[in-house]
Subunit: 518 residues, 2 copies
């Protein structure tokens, strides 16, 4: 019996080797040699994403598997770090004459230089410490959350803020503050002052609206959401919907939904399902498909062909999840398929109202689109103030509970349902939270302009002609990758105006006033 054993590789074609500097002819420009060198590292990063995907989706979930995988990921991370900071790259960068470059090449060169400079700014010892603290803080967070005791976490959270601050400070390049630099890592080029402006407007507008919504006697009936929804039927239904939206990659099941890209050709999403509630699974699929469509439409394989920022990324997932998927037009498209898939009888209008129910929640990831922004604003304010030294890590539970009371009028009964609910800070992802709301704000702004430019936005959705919407997003957002210096610059160039909160506030106000009959 033939065994085409990949292990020994005889049935696998070995590709031509590509060592450093072996690929380009000797006459290649320094820019081209730099791109080659960086491309190899990019491909290793793509492989790293695959290794992670496998760990989450296909690898058996035992301690032994994770231990072996940990060593592998570590080896690859080491190689990637070494290549990203190699003196070879520095020499190639120094040899490039910037005046010979323009347009996308210039943007690509500047991004490579910035990345290199920032990577080299961190001494090896600090890099190791960062990884260590991140590891330890994560472990500490899981334990503290289980015990619902913030005090167990605060020593390592202090360290996490401290080492993240140290790293950011060393990498600063003209940003106004350490927190601005942290923000820049996730939301490139958007100063915290701009974030503050936008968030202040949202914070001023939403609480009164939420109060009126929750006081209304005309709340939707949530019953269409629950019942018996066999997993296989949900999986098939979601795949049908996601394919209709135009996402062409794999979708699998994992504990936490995520999107990953190994190249624009190979983008994969995951979902999770609940047998008693169908909508969270679908919303997750549509959300991830939105991320996936962005990754699929990036315009090439250069460093600059990467998503602009996390907020931009979130604007794409939320555009599809909310502005398409939670719209009345979409429910008209989906309704007949849904009734057939699950043998239910609720009308489109009943489904539409049910999926747009607003309620106060302690937990960010369970919050609806109307209350969600306040969860983000609270976290952003707290992390910014800790980084800026205005408050101490030890004050977090108090600030959290006061904020939740003030903004959402809920009492936090214990830390696990309050300041211990999110993983981000333990992973040194400080400056990440704001991107969720920036994405929401950007998505509403995109919807406004799509309506104006496409003319028949609702009809396209109702008829399932999502390709025209995707083409519009590709043109306005996806194909530009990281060429603009910020989402403000992208929007100014493509929509004629910077990111602004008014569309988001108007979208929520109009929509929920209608649904709740205000």
């Amino acid at each position: 019996m033939l065994t085409a054993r990949g292990l020994f590789g005889f049935a696998v074609k070995s590709p031509p080797l590509q060592g450093r500097g072996q690929v380009r002819a000797l006459s290649a420009s320094s820019y081209e040699s730099l791109v080659d060198e960086v491309s190899t590292t990019r491909r290793l990063e793509q492989i790293s994403a695959l290794v992670h995907w496998d760990s989450m989706v296909t690898m058996p979930q035992t301690d032994n598997h994770h231990a072996a995988r940990g060593l592998q990921s570590q080896a690859l991370a080491g190689v990637i770090h070494e290549r990203s900071t190699s003196p070879e790259i520095g020499k190639l960068i120094a040899a490039v004459d910037e005046t010979t470059l323009k347009g996308k090449e210039l943007a690509n060169f500047r991004l490579m230089s910035k990345t290199y400079k920032e990577s080299c700014a961190i001494p090896a010892e600090l890099e190791k410490k960062k990884a260590q603290v991140s590891n330890d803080a994560y472990v500490s967070w899981t334990k503290a959350r289980e015990a619902s005791d913030f005090n167990m976490f605060s020593p390592l959270l202090n360290e996490a803020f401290s080492v993240a601050g140290e790293v950011a400070a060393l990498r600063m390049d003209g940003e106004a503050s350490v927190y601005d630099k942290m923000l820049d890592d996730f939301e490139r080029g958007l100063p915290s002052a701009r974030v503050g402006e936008i968030f202040d407007e949202v914070e001023a507008a939403l609480p009164p609206l939420i109060e009126r919504v929750l006081a209304s006697q005309n709340a939707p009936d949530p019953r269409p959401l629950s019942g018996d929804f066999p997993l296989a039927a949900q999986e098939e239904f979601n795949k049908e919907i996601v394919a209709a939206l135009g996402f062409k990659g794999r979708s699998d099941v994992s504990v936490h939904p995520f999107t990953t890209s190994f190249s624009p050709a190979d983008v994969r999403i995951t979902t999770r399902f609940d047998e008693k509630e169908w909508y969270q699974g679908l919303a997750g699929s549509v959300h991830e498909a939105g991320h996936g469509i962005y990754e699929s439409n990036l315009d090439g394989d250069l460093t600059v062909d990467s998503p602009l920022s996390m907020g931009t990324h979130e604007s794409q997932s939320l555009f599809w999840e909310r502005h398409v998927g939670m719209s009345r037009a979409f429910v008209k498209f989906m309704g007949p398929r849904w009734r057939k898939a699950f043998g239910r009888e609720e009308s489109d209008e009943e489904i539409y109202r049910a999926i747009n129910t607003v309620k106060r929640s302690l937990i960010r990831v369970e919050a609806d689109e109307l209350t969600y922004p306040l969860h983000v604003i609270l976290r952003t304010r707290i992390e910014r103030d800790v980084v800026n030294g205005k408050v101490a890590v030890e004050d977090i539970p108090r600030l959290w509970n006061e904020g939740m009371k003030e903004m959402l009028d809920v009492e936090v009964p214990e830390d696990s349902k309050g300041c211990l609910q999110d993983v981000h800070w333990s992973g040194l992802a400080i400056g990440y939270f704001p991107t969720y709301l920036l994405g929401a704000v950007a998505a509403a702004q995109l919807e406004h302009h799509a309506r104006v430019e496409l003319g028949n936005f609702d009809e396209l959705i109702e008829r399932g002609e999502f390709d025209k919407i995707q083409a519009w997003l590709r043109d306005k957002v996806h194909r530009h990758g990281s060429e603009p210096s910020s989402i403000d610059e992208l929007f100014k160039e493509q929509l004629g105006e910077e990111l602004k909160s008014s569309y988001f506030i108007k979208y929520l106000t109009d929509k929920y006033s209608r649904i709740y009959g205000l």
Copy 2:
């Protein structure tokens, strides 16, 4: 909605970085530093195996996916090659005082040194040429096979033999000939003279036996093999059987069955199914599980903790496929489960006879265990004579067709069913074929000793107590990894005698004489 986006890594714990030489304390010995350095490369190789598995099993099969994946594999292969031949390794090897090492450490050191020396022996240009020729020859082979025209393939096959010979010659280290070196790459430490001895005995014994078998009026009835076997039922049945044998890893579906190992903790097999015939799928699963069990039982994470040779590997897959899976005792174990899974009524004896049917075949991978050895002997003789300059590549079709007529009394109607049927030579895997038969010979020898030492071999199988058999194989074969210098040395140490053909010949003679009533 939370998106735990692996892409940006915030939900993923970054492991502590492990750069070169950063791990061990300064006082670490050169040997320990060498092991660290080589381990990182081994882990990258494990990742490379994962990348390959994904390409075969989970990646969507489009040209775009394969193109992107090709660039990724190439980048990783480049890094692995660079690390494997780095002067750093050479310095560490030179600094080790061999007299301070013993046992497994010494074997590990010698294996690392040998691998390094051989890797460095190939100039970069030749390495590139090898990869290129392998690529081109593969493409040429697929086209020639489609057209069933050997002449289309012969120019590139000439190149393949030539570059493989050049590479082997540069890597020689005391082997008697270039072909001996090629063989050594797949069957470590076994000279072609030993292969010749064993193969001559098999070749003398089998043709007369085959003639008597095929002349018998008492051939099995093959009807239990065919019918309607729904894929889902087959998949479930095979998983149940493979789990009972003691293989604990994933099994998936792929076009060609294979086994791959990312570490002893994470070994995966694949199978393919035919709705009209259940046995090939099961035999494939059991075969791959045999490979998988070997990989799972390797005794650690060092270079020396790797399979000894391809023949040894094949002895494990064939032990389970043939000496367990095709035995009467196994059918007694499997029969009731099989009848239940597929709603059939044939008796154990009818199943046993059907799966042990002998027939002449043109195609190696379709051949039964009795005629298969002759397919291997023919290929071995041809490749050896080409390498030794006794015959020309252009003579292959004639030699092939004459050999098939002489040994198996079949006429080869066209090249696609003759000398173009196998992928191996196009991939420069010259010296690989003999390991199939060496594995078969070794498996029969292992069965003999297992029967003697375990006492109740058949009863263990019939009762499904495969763990005792696995433990015996682990003790005799698996745990030794690559510590012995050859399968001869392993068998001498563990079984008290070198590899010999007599058990294999006796096994086939006894078994088929009984089945065919000779």
